[in-house]
């Protein structure tokens, strides 16, 4: 690879288009970011019984998360050490007490250790011995979890999970604290939508407050029309119309929403939707929260001003509504998104249903919101092929945000500090790599 000048590609107020389109840079990102950092595998409630598994991708590596006989969760490379065949060909299931290869029936315990090999005497006096780790499935170097959310790192060294998450761990605190039991359970439906764009588009878009009233006006406007009619006729409208109608707010309103941008590219878009109506269901729920945590803590949990939290570079958590989108980059112009919903334990059914409406209307494959986002990202990826210009602009409000040691607070909601902060993290991840590949 020829020398890459990171300082040229990523400048404080603009980036070169190739960071979204170049296959070489993508490969370096996979090898040195995604295949090293802590990557989200799933929620522990997805694998309740021994043998329960879900397959997933970490960078370019096919992995499987499985519940062991000892109830520990293991994350293993989904590969038979014999001839390299993938062991679990399904998204999820229960594999019993063993993984068994469909080719030659090599079998493995749930922690990955080889259990049996057919006609094993065939290996007598060969270079392969069964106590050699190379005869077993290879585990991820590190597995850890935070409040039930399981992560793995393919690198034996590096920051701990909590160091990696940093301030973004508020995503999982906010999800779980909204349950009087402090826990959630995954709803076992995972929608998978392909984005025909670089993974960075989605991460930037999630805290981009200038786009909603442009991109989503076609859904926001008719939703507002129905919401206003219902309010006029009946005095109130179901909350889910509000989920859609807020997208049609004015530029000025969006400019008043603040983003908080943390080290490592993480960030928070503060709340802009009112989620505390005073209907009997909400009051019952809030009473349960106060009983569980006391007045003060309950108030803190219920009034946290978050719309969603980004765990850079691949997770968007809409914590007040218990939904999560996880990116699995496939190529510079292809990104798989996995979309999940979690149920708060110990809350009345209507509270679950209230967040379910958001999952159905905004995050399902028939989403009235992402339909237009995906169109932007596709055309964005196409546009970046153009030699009509090399630079992507992040000049908005540059130099006018409040910088502290621990965070950048946007001066205006529409400040492009979000993208500048993400690229600062990207550059830091890529710098040692590029230095070594050039040397």
């Amino acid at each position: 690879m020829s020398a890459i000048d990171l300082d040229y590609l990523v400048q404080p107020d603009r980036v070169h288009r190739s960071v979204y389109t170049d296959q070489g840079l993508f490969d370096l990102e996979m090898e040195n970011i995604f295949e090293k950092i802590w990557v989200y595998c799933g929620h522990e409630s997805q694998v309740k019984k021994p043998g329960d598994y879900w397959t997933l991708q970490i960078g370019r590596q096919p992995m499987v998360m499985v519940r062991g006989e000892d109830m520990r969760i293991h994350v293993l490379y989904n590969r038979c050490p014999h001839r390299g065949v993938m062991l679990c060909g399904n998204q999820s299931g229960n594999t019993g007490k063993h993984f068994v290869c469909s080719y030659h029936a090599w079998s493995f315990k749930l922690d990955g250790r080889v259990s049996a090999i057919p006609l094993a005497k065939g290996y007598d006096n060969t270079r392969l011995s069964f106590d050699d780790p190379q005869a077993s499935m290879v585990p991820a170097a590190r597995v850890d979890s935070y409040r039930g959310f399981v992560f793995a790192s393919l690198s034996p060294t590096g920051p701990s999970l909590t160091e990696f998450l940093g301030d973004s761990k508020v995503a999982f605190d906010d999800v779980c604290d909204r349950s009087p039991e402090g826990e959630v359970e995954a709803v076992l439906v995972c929608h998978r939508v392909m984005q025909r764009s670089n993974w960075k588009f989605f991460m930037e878009n999630q805290l981009d407050c200038l786009h909603p009233s442009v991109t989503h006006q076609s859904s926001g406007v008719p939703a507002r029309r129905v919401e206003n009619r219902l309010k006029a006729e009946k005095g109130e409208a179901p909350l889910f119309f509000h989920y859609l109608s807020t997208f049609a707010s004015s530029f000025d309103q969006w400019d008043s929403v603040q983003t908080v941008n943390f080290p490592n590219g993480h960030g928070v878009l503060k709340a802009y939707m009112g989620l505390r109506p005073t209907d009997p269901d909400t009051l019952e729920y809030e009473a349960l929260m106060k009983k569980a945590y006391g007045e003060e803590k309950a108030e803190e949990y219920l009034s946290r001003s978050i719309h969603h939290v980004l765990v850079y570079p691949y997770l968007s958590v809409q914590s007040p509504l218990q939904q999560l989108r996880c990116l699995r980059p496939i190529g510079p112009d292809r990104t798989l998104s996995e979309i999940w919903h979690f149920r708060l334990k110990g809350v009345p059914e209507p509270i679950y249903r209230r967040s379910l409406w958001y999952f159905n209307l905004v995050n399902s494959p028939a989403t009235m919101i992402n339909a237009d986002d995906l169109e932007n990202w596709t055309k964005g990826q196409w546009g970046l092929q153009s030699k009509g210009g090399d630079w992507v602009s992040f000049h908005r409000e540059h130099g006018r945000d409040t910088e502290t040691d621990s965070a950048s607070y946007s001066n205006r909601g529409t400040s492009e500090v979000v993208m500048r902060n993400q690229f600062k993290a990207w550059k830091a991840y890529m710098k040692p790599v590029i230095a070594s590949s050039v040397a």
């Binding site: 060909g89 399904n90 998204q91 999820s92 299931g93 229960n94 594999t95 019993g96 007490k97 063993h98 068994v100 469909s102 029936a105 079998s107 259990s115 049996a116 057919p118 709803v187 076992l188 439906v189 995972c190 929608h191 998978r192 939508v193 392909m194 025909r196 991109t215 006006q217 076609s218 859904s219 406007v221 008719p222 939703a223 029309r225 129905v226 219902l230 119309f241 859609l244 798989l336 919903h341 059914e349 679950y352 249903r353 379910l356 999952f359 159905n360 209307l361 399902s364 494959p365 028939a366 989403t367 009235m368 992402n370 339909a371 237009d372 995906l374 169109e375 932007n376």
Partner: protein, 208 residues
């Protein structure tokens, strides 16, 4: 190897017979199940003998309803539902209730009005791309025909083109029909998409 040795080697051998013994895989891990999480369930419709005129009336409604989607006659399509009619595409085939579970679509008249509003909005950006669908509906079976409610099962295939991308969606419809002022109206349309939990290359903008 000499020619003669090869002929000799090829002249002997064994014949493997499938005698009653464990297979290789069974002997290694008898309890192992390689199948995935979702059971391979299927819904088999019931059947009743009905008046051929009712059969024709029901089929015509289903065919016309699908044609309205392909013609982007959204208001006409919305008009095929009863006042409280529900359009529902469950996320998984085991679901039994349109509310309280994750759905791909779960829309009453008001939400259909929002979706129609989106499709008709001049700045529905994703609608700028050339886009069209073609539905085929068939295998229409009336499962029950009461005085005030008719239950109908059918299967559909939809081809979509958007820019240069062709996609296929297929599955079954279950229509619960009621009679309002002499007309059959849809009280509930359940759409079980065979590829509902498949990978979506793009989303579904309109009803299927």
């Amino acid at each position: 190897m000499e020619r003669n040795d090869l002929s000799q080697a090829l002249g002997t051998g064994v014949v493997i017979e499938a005698i009653e013994s464990m297979t290789g895989a069974e002997s290694i891990a008898p309890e192992h199940v390689g199948r995935g999480r979702l059971p391979a369930t299927g819904y088999v419709p019931k059947a009743v003998t009905v008046d051929p005129a009712l059969q024709r009336e029901v089929e015509t409604l289903l065919y016309r309803q699908a044609a309205m989607l392909d013609a982007k006659a959204w208001a006409d399509w919305c008009g095929t539902f009863s006042q409280d009619g529900i359009y529902w595409m469950p996320a998984t085939p085991d679901q039994t209730d349109w509310e309280g579970q994750p759905s791909i679509f779960a829309e009453d008249g008001l939400l259909r009005e929002v979706r129609m509003g989106r499709l008709q909005h001049p700045n529905a950006w994703s609608q700028a791309a050339a886009w069209g669908t073609n539905h085929l509906v068939g295998n229409v079976i009336i499962e029950s025909a009461g005085a005030d409610r008719v239950e109908v099962y059918s299967r559909f295939h939809m081809m979509e083109i958007r820019r240069d991308d062709v996609r296929h969606f297929a599955g079954s419809y279950r229509h619960s029909l009621v009679r309002e002022q002499g007309q059959l109206k849809i009280a509930l349309q359940r759409v079980d998409l065979t590829n509902g939990q498949g990978l979506y290359e793009y989303v579904l903008q309109a009803w299927v």
